[in-house]
């Protein structure tokens, strides 16, 4: 078929596809009727078949480039992952998030290990050089504890909560994004967080303020530190995918892991809203220390029963079956 005849015969449907691309809103076809979408699919398949013919018969004709661009513009409108819907949020928290938490366990354990290493290092540092205590822990903290000022509430607690929540979300996202730099920033965040907690805990122990201190940390800390450990785990997932892509190409291994990891870190980071609220309103409050520790324990039990138990597929119950055929020896 000559180029003219080819164009004359088929340009109508190319124009129709072009018009259909223009009616797509926001890069998707959602505003169109089912029959329109079906027609779009047909037009796209016809155009890509025409593109294959044009490539073979008229490789240098402008129409070939036109058809390529036309198909390239139409293709992502039709081919796309499942859309994000507000209704997906419930099932995400009910099953998907705990499942991806459990699937990521080696990285989360490694992340926890980094934080514990930092904690032990900080503790040992203060134990070995108690004279450095003042430079590791702000002395004002001891003054306040000695004066009994800790535990009388924070002024402007809503603003404190907003600050804490945003700061922790920032840390969580940095833990994830640091995975792109081989997870090195992620590891540093985990180590320093552990170190700070370790030095303060050891210094407080020397000062004899253990109970006040832990009652100040535990109510929110169980949740907050868990989220930071999870976020660290997601960063380590990225770093590991870059360093050890396995059978896949590096970019592919990374992209597969990253989409799972980002949902885990975003879901976990949303818990920081609860943690920050506890940190501003409950931890520094005048509640008795025992009550604060109990709140922390309760949050921990809830958090981990959700993360470890939710979304498991029901185990098949092994029941005696009368109708099972008798096994005969071969």
């Amino acid at each position: 078929m000559s180029l003219d005849a080819f164009i004359a015969e088929r340009q109508g449907r190319w124009a129709a596809l072009e018009a259909a691309i223009k009616t797509a809103k926001r890069g998707r076809l959602r505003n169109q009727s089912a029959s329109d979408i079906e027609r779009f699919g047909l037009l796209l398949r016809q155009a890509s078949s025409d593109l294959a013919i044009a490539r073979r018969d008229h490789p240098d004709a402008p129409i070939t480039e036109y058809l390529n661009t036309l198909c390239a513009r139409a293709h992502p409108l039709l081919y796309r992952g499942s859309p994000w819907r507000i209704g997906a949020v419930g099932p995400f928290f009910a099953t998907a998030l705990p499942r991806s938490f459990r699937a990521a366990w080696p990285y989360i354990v490694a992340s926890l290990a980094l934080m514990v290493i930092g904690f032990i290092a900080g503790w040992v540092a203060v134990d070995l050089r108690p004279d450095l205590r003042a430079s590791l822990v702000p002395p004002s903290l001891f003054d306040e504890m000695a004066r009994g000022q800790i535990g009388t509430g924070v002024q402007d607690a809503p603003f404190a909560a907003a600050f804490i929540i945003q700061n922790n979300i920032r840390v969580a996202l940095i833990c994830f994004a640091g995975g792109m730099l081989l997870g090195i920033p992620t590891a540093l965040v985990l180590l320093t967080n552990g170190w700070m907690l370790g030095t303060v805990a050891a210094a407080v122990r020397l000062g004899g303020y253990d109970v006040q201190f832990w009652s100040l940390i535990v109510p929110h800390g169980v949740l907050e530190l868990s989220v930071i450990v999870i976020s660290g785990g997601t960063g380590l997932m990225l770093g590991d995918a870059i360093l050890r892509p396995g059978q896949l190409r590096r970019g592919e291994a990374l992209a597969r892991v990253a989409v799972r990891a980002v949902l885990l870190v975003l879901g976990a980071a949303s818990l920081l809203v609860i943690a920050g609220t506890l940190e501003a309103f409950v931890s520094p409050s005048a509640l008795p220390d025992g009550a604060k520790l109990a709140i922390g324990a309760a949050v921990g039990v809830l958090l981990y029963s959700w993360l470890l138990l939710a979304g498991r597929s029901p185990r098949r119950r092994r029941s005696f079956q009368f109708d099972r055929p008798a096994e005969t020896p071969a």
Partner: protein, 258 residues
């Protein structure tokens, strides 16, 4: 291949047709980024003012003022980064800046970037932006001009604008005729098909050939067409100058075609 002056990535579709996407270059990416900043930075400033306004109405202590000040800074950063994520998620991969530059984020398999992929590339944007210049340096050295966020998400920014319109692709290139006279009727034109006619048109629309090359090419084409026409040995057409012969054959075919 197509889209000559740009690098392309090839995507094999489910119809087993290979599509070429032309990759957005560093320049257009940076211009799109600047355009987006013209929106995102004022948005972030508005966020600071709003946060500060609320805080100054309710804060009662210097401690609270400290929290509010730092909180306003974080809030502005979230609004800034959130702008890119929301804009891409709502439009299917085109922030206003990208849209103005005719760019679009897609996944490497040619499908639209979904929520997860856009989340990855926009969280990693923190590293691309905050670690000074790393995003630009990576884009400069990465063969497909992808930044760290694109590498993590398996996405790529491509040109989404039609470079060739249907009208311009369909219109045949202008044919330059030296003697626009069809001349006496030539026998045997039925033997000439569409492909030959396209070849004649391509020759007649070519410009800038050196006179010698043009004469050689014309002689070659004329000989082949004469063979195809199977004219008797003494036919007058055999003695026309080759270029004149080609023009007359083309014009007569064109008239027939209409």
């Amino acid at each position: 291949m197509e889209s000559g002056q740009f690098d392309t990535i090839s995507v094999r579709t489910s119809d087993n047709v290979t599509l070429g996407y032309s990759i957005a270059g560093l320049g257009s990416r940076l211009v799109a980024q600047i355009l987006d900043n013209l929106v995102a930075v004022p948005l972030a400033l508005v966020a600071i003012l709003l946060y500060g306004g609320v805080a100054s109405a309710f804060v009662t202590s210097s401690e609270g003022a400290g929290f509010a000040g730092a909180g306003a800074g974080f809030f502005a950063a979230f609004v800034y980064f959130g702008y890119f994520f929301v804009a891409e998620a709502v439009t299917g991969g085109k922030t206003p800046g990208k849209s103005a530059m005719g760019l679009r984020v897609i996944r490497l398999d040619g499908s639209a970037a979904d929520f997860g992929a856009l989340a990855v590339r926009n969280v990693i944007r923190i590293v691309d932006v905050v670690v000074v210049l790393i995003g630009i340096v990576v884009m400069f050295f990465q063969p497909q001009t992808r930044r760290l966020g694109d590498l993590g998400a398996g996405t790529i920014v491509v040109r989404d604008r039609a470079m060739v319109t249907l009208a311009s692709a369909v219109a045949p290139p202008p044919v330059i005729l030296r003697t626009p006279d069809a001349g006496p009727a030539i026998d045997g034109l039925d033997r000439i098909g569409g492909f030959e006619r396209d070849a004649l048109r391509v020759f007649l629309s070519r410009q800038g050939l050196s006179p010698k090359l043009r004469a050689d090419l014309a002689a070659d084409i004329a000989r082949r067409v004469l063979d195809r026409l199977q004219l008797p040995p003494g036919a007058p057409e055999r003695f026309w100058p080759p270029e004149l012969f080609i023009e007359r054959v083309y014009l007569q075919l064109d008239q027939r075609h209409r």
